[in-house]
Symmetry: D2
Subunit: 343 residues, 4 copies
């Protein structure tokens, strides 16, 4: 079988998690997230963000986290602002709208939002009460295009949101990758300080399942558990989620796994740059978008799975390569080798 660079959820989970599942398997634990593992995982997260008064909830996946957070936070007439590549806009089958809320789209090449992107949207939504009220800014870090927010960028956005009475919500399906990027100066602690809500993605970073929603804004904490249950996200055996995050948060496993994924992508990136390859965007996380000659792509396709992302011109296309916590040196080296031979 061909090795796949299609995504970062092709394998199962980090062995520590399976080991912990095995060891705890026959213990009786309370249901619905009241088990000791979930409690411990939540404590570990609160320690890491140094915010004892944040609330943490564990759910199964990213779309679920997004729809629960957004529908809980907004009033019926309020809406979300997202970059046009936002996961909620393109890859969630209208999950947000299904809860009753519009998502306003802002075209951005790099998938990142700045205050100056948002200002015109606010200005175009002043015809009260004939238009939805923008209330929540949705960002992803790393973004759907592999780009990241630096500390200063997030600070400016956070400031802007506070001044304009907007909530700031960070989709962290790939937060580990964003924060451990070699160019990132943003810390998890800072993310917790600057956002109203964010989540730490487990599914794409070594867990079988699970995202940890962290609510920093105390106003948004009230009764949040009801929303989890109502949307069908409260697992009877919450231990399954608790154990994932307990293991990921122990020591720095979560960040080590993400850093590994990033490094493997960077290894391929550098090899390509050495050969003069250009990239659709300049990313430093586990997603890269090299522009290659279609013939090279064809040969690589014989050996590896990946997405052809976008036609660039008649002769070349950008492909998307994603590495994961489990992408080994063998796969990376072989990919580079074949690439170099074909170029």
């Amino acid at each position: 079988m061909k090795f796949s660079f299609k995504n970062d959820y092709s394998e199962g989970c980090h062995p520590n998690i399976l080991q912990s599942l095995l060891q705890s398997n026959l213990e009786q634990q309370a249901g619905y997230g009241e088990d000791k593992y979930s409690l411990q995982a939540k404590e570990l997260i609160k320690e890491k963000i140094k915010k004892a008064d944040s609330d943490v909830y564990l759910v199964s996946g990213g779309t679920q986290a997004n729809l629960i957070v957004i529908s809980s936070v907004l009033k019926p007439y309020q809406c979300v602002i997202s970059a046009s590549v936002g996961h909620i806009l393109n890859n969630e089958t209208g999950a947000i709208e299904a809860t009753g809320h519009k998502v306003l789209s802002i075209e951005k090449e790099d998938g990142k939002l700045t205050p100056s992107d948002i200002i015109p949207v606010l200005e175009n939504h002043k015809n009260v009460p004939h238009q939805v009220m923008p209330k929540l800014v949705y960002i992803s870090n790393s973004t759907e295009l592999g780009t990241i927010y630096q500390a200063k960028e997030l600070e400016e956005l956070s400031d802007f949101c506070k001044k304009n009475n907007l909530y700031l919500f960070m989709d962290g399906a790939r937060l580990g990758h964003g924060l451990t990027s070699e160019i990132s100066d943003l810390s998890l602690e800072k993310v917790a300080e600057l956002t109203d809500i964010f989540y730490l993605g487990g599914t794409k970073n070594g867990a079988l399942i699970g995202e940890a929603i962290v609510i920093n804004n105390s106003f948004l904490q009230e009764d949040f558990a009801f929303n989890i249950k109502q949307k069908g996200a409260l697992l009877a055996k919450g231990r399954l989620l608790g154990i994932q995050f307990m293991e990921l948060m122990k020591d720095d496993l979560y960040f080590d796994l993400a850093k590994h994924a990033n490094q493997q992508a960077m290894k391929i990136k550098r090899a390509m740059q050495n050969k003069g390859v250009e990239f659709l965007s300049d990313t430093y996380t586990n997603q890269i978008f090299p522009i290659l000659n279609n013939k090279v792509i064809a040969v690589l396709s014989e050996h590896f799975e990946f997405f052809v992302w976008k036609k660039v011109d008649e002769e070349s296309s950008a492909i998307r390569l994603i590495t994961s916590w489990n992408t080994g040196d063998d796969a990376v080296d072989r990919f580079i080798e074949i690439f170099e031979k074909e170029l």
Copy 2:
């Protein structure tokens, strides 16, 4: 720690499942339920129900299964009929209403619906278009009270639904327990024949997570996958669900586990009956509701966890005992021993 008879999801999962997770862990598999384990699990289920043209979808939990099925099947003005003890009425935080649909409640002591229960509801909803249109009958087997549907009862209900243009949907969170009850004459194949949709519950029968939705009515099959995704139920690592059901469906593990749980409950039931204890309802699955003197309950509480279900009179109450696939003889024997001593 006290042994708990509070529910059937206190432990992890059957060891075969963990073993299979371990063995497959580092394989790369397709995401979103296209992995080979999910495909195999679905095939096994279709073989067991002998309906090659049914569709099977794996989701995480019961509330999720209920809300996805019901919201997918109904038009905005259509509603559900449920017995008053129905899980969707009492224990899902309004999940069904949150998707826009009313649930009509029918008071029934035993938690089971018959055509004669439903007829007056239909008759009281004929003021078109001022009332919701009843369209789906929701039943549980075994029910929330541990009672079960026999083949003839389900046939009559199914007939009635067809004649009245109603869908029949069986919540099978405890379907294993219902079908392996010592008094049950209903088979899984028959369930598939007589319902439009049902699901096989994994969470309460030895899985870590997972319910298998089976759509028998071809009209309801169209585009169902969109609903799974939109409600946040499509796991990126669908293999997690696939492996659970692959293992449970191999040989007859699913039914063996349920039968074991039932037998442990019956052992306690018989011991109590021998001592003249009466029960709130006469159940033959893994839930029993003995009526005991409050002093006896107090002593039992020192040694075991269970719910005090309902006050019966000043001196006695009904308690609820639930056994599981993993309830051992030691716990059962010790419970009986203490009970007999105290009586």
Copy 3:
């Protein structure tokens, strides 16, 4: 054509309203409720309730008012408590559930709620977060059965709601009739003081269309206009609604019309009581429910339209008679005459 006692919306509107529509017809006015008539109507209502800081919104009908108010006020996991005869439970095609909220039903013969009715509902909804959270008490005055709330009853209910952190919402589709009942000691001012939101019904009391929603609780006032627009209730020619309520609120037309309707019903009631007729419930508004021999009903049906409400025994049934602002003495007298002759 037979005269109809079927409802109180069989005729058009009070002539003053048509006159005012005629006089103002060709004036240009601002749209969407910013016309001078709407502004004046709102001022008149605020004067009558002596609450300058209440907010008033005019919408088209009762179902619309109910669904807008309830969906605006509740968070996704919160629900409504209603008497079992509540209009929102039986006659609105699941309009409230369609906005995502469950309506809990309390069986009450007289259609009225008291604190002691609500206490057990609150007690049965403490399994956080597995159940909906009761948050709003919905009452009608006069009720769907023609009964009314007295000042003391409403005070007790209002007190109870405040103590239990519940909103109190009065459906006033027939508020005029409730307040002008010969036995009522409740005033409009008092209603505004004791409820968080209520509305004054126009459609059933001499308007062509229109209910005036009054929001007394300042916390619920914020941004309410968005909800009106989002639910399709903001008329471009808001003047149509403004003129109705301006005319109804001038002098005491609104109350005079309701009192007339009540008196006509009472005239029939007394005539029947004089002949020993019993009533399903003892009402003092424009709805009466006499129990008559089926033969008498048959004869009356030859001359008048009305609903046969409920079979009482093999020989007799309760009928429902509704009088309106426009029910003339001739119809009432003729009805009494035929009734007395047949008895």
Copy 4:
């Protein structure tokens, strides 16, 4: 007071309607649209479109019509395609999303959709089941920018929709103006033949209130009345809507009124063209968008109300002028006179 060219709903209604309301006022009629006037109005519409098997429903306004139609027609995972200027995208406070459905936006200068606009949207939504399924094409005629669909354009669009299994829905808030435009070759009959659903707008064409929804596709007709009631749009005194459309449909009043509005706008347009004025778009209905020097705009603003639509350059802006069924020659002549003097 200044004469307003701000919109086409500043005045009340055509005198015939008021006359008819007066004459019928004290008749008793059945409620909820079963009155004889509503029945007659529906018959007249079906005669005019020569489709006896279409279904007609009368509702209050455009946002209401749009949200009822769209939410009734779509399954939860299906979405709407609209031109970016579509009323549902910009001016309805997220009413469509509030019913659970996404609206995909296509940028178009002229506000009109063609098959070639839609093809890329369909191509970009093939990632089943991760994306919403486009299912309904929403168009307005005349559009929000005053432009219109010609017969051939609508035929091509209708053909395309049929081939691609899409519904075609025409928002006819200004359908009269679209069809009576001096350049239009489209007939009402043709509209009914080529669309699955459309509506005839009354509010912006001489009615006090009211849009007539016409369902041509028999598959979409089933149980539609439930949706009307559930969304709070079923008026108890349906006669109010019936009388409006009965009068508008008698003879050709509806079209005469629209034609008058168009002609008044064209009179101003020609006067401006004679003076070399350019227009933002070349419209032939009751909305025109002349580009004027800001000084001229300032002077005109002293005498008339209108919207300044869009800044064009430092010295000039486009204004929007809307004429109505009741815009008299005096207002038009005076506008032209002042304009000519100032230019």
